[in-house]
Amino acid sequence: MSTPTDLSNVRQSVDKAHGLPNAHYIDPKVFDEEKDALLFSQWSGLAVAADVPEVGDAVPFDFLGMPLLLVRDRDTKVRVYQNICRHRGMILVDEPRKIEGAIRCPYHSWCYGLDGRLVSTPHVGGPGQNVHASIDKNKLSLIEVRSHVWRDVVWINVSGNAPDFEDAMCEVIDRWTEFDQPLFHGGDDSKFTLTVDTNWKLAVENYCESYHLPWVHPGLNSYSRLEDHYHIEKPGHHSGQGTLVYRQLRDDNGNTFEDFAGLSDKWDTSAEYIAAYPNVLLGVHRDHAFAIILVPHGPERTSEHVHLYYATDNSDASLREKNSVQWKEVFTEDVGVVEGMQRGRHAIGFDGGHFSPVMDSPTHCFHDWCAGNIDAARAAKQAAE
């Protein structure tokens, strides 16, 4: 990028700051810059472990143009590899499937174990000769991407040099230690995807703040008023919102989901919604939780992968379905505003916007994180030149 955007206004205090400039939502070059500075160099959400429930399950992903392969290995560990053969760079797995034995490249049949080891290189030394002095199998394992599973989300650090996950995410891990207990994905009725014509950051920004709730989600007004919400802000880590009046979903007989074990009284009526920077939106309630993974598909398109979790593996199916429908309604109500803000970023005179110092600080917190990481990446690049 010949002329980097000016982020000096973004990093001011919320009462003076502007939002990120338009280019950060619409310019492919800035998108590429952010791909490295905000996604590949951080711990980003890729998928959920529930996508590969059994040994040998393999699911390919295109993450920001990078072909990745999510597998569950023979030790039941979830692993992420670059989805390419070390021989000719051929895509190894092109659709979700069960790997019975080895991951066999469809081109020349080089075979890899689920642990990534290169097992065989057929005919590499000529017909029927499967070894050659120049091919050291020990040095040609699949390229593993650093990964970590927390709250069932598979987080990846593509650059490989972020702090350990537990350190990078310590603030949100500490905040929710009470919820550090088994989570059970609700299954097919508890996941859905929304594909939205917006930059991924606008989905984060909208999720962070409660300011929009009475206008965009009027159904909440009946019991969850704006003043029942509070901000959650940890600069450099995460931001979001909480509510003090969470009300459990009930079926026609008044039954509810089972609670997570041992929660303190606070959670009787509280729920929290946190954007774990960069691209994972998490929610916790006494009786269920969710994770939303935002997958960018260019500057102006994002898919939102929503997964709902429960405290037990035998939650009631009809209640689960009701919960999924309810959340899908809420998240769909947000589509119009994130797409509207995206279209607004094509207005040449827009200066990034002006925040409510009282209501928008969680969004500003995210902008500040973005700008700080982009500035740091620019400084590192300049130093290297």
Partner: protein, 71 residues
């Protein structure tokens, strides 16, 4: 390889019947006239055995390794 085996191999490839391919390539290896042909077919049997977690993968590996064809 006789025509019948060749025909069966083509059919198994068309069906992507990998387990049958292990058996057929093993037979082709057994019938091969030279070492190079034998280990060529045995390699194919081994690769499809690896692919399918076939019970013969271990023994095929040992044969190839003892012949200096695999490591």
């Amino acid at each position: 390889m006789n025509d019948t085996l060749d025909f069966k191999l083509l059919k198994a490839h068309a069906r992507q019947d990998k387990s049958t391919l292990v058996d057929l390539y093993t037979k082709a290896a057994d019938a091969a006239p030279t070492d190079d042909a034998r280990y060529f077919f045995m390699t194919h049997a081994y690769i499809f055995a690896l692919d399918t977690n076939h019970s013969t993968a271990g023994s095929l590996f040992k044969k190839l390794k003892s012949a200096g064809r695999e490591a």
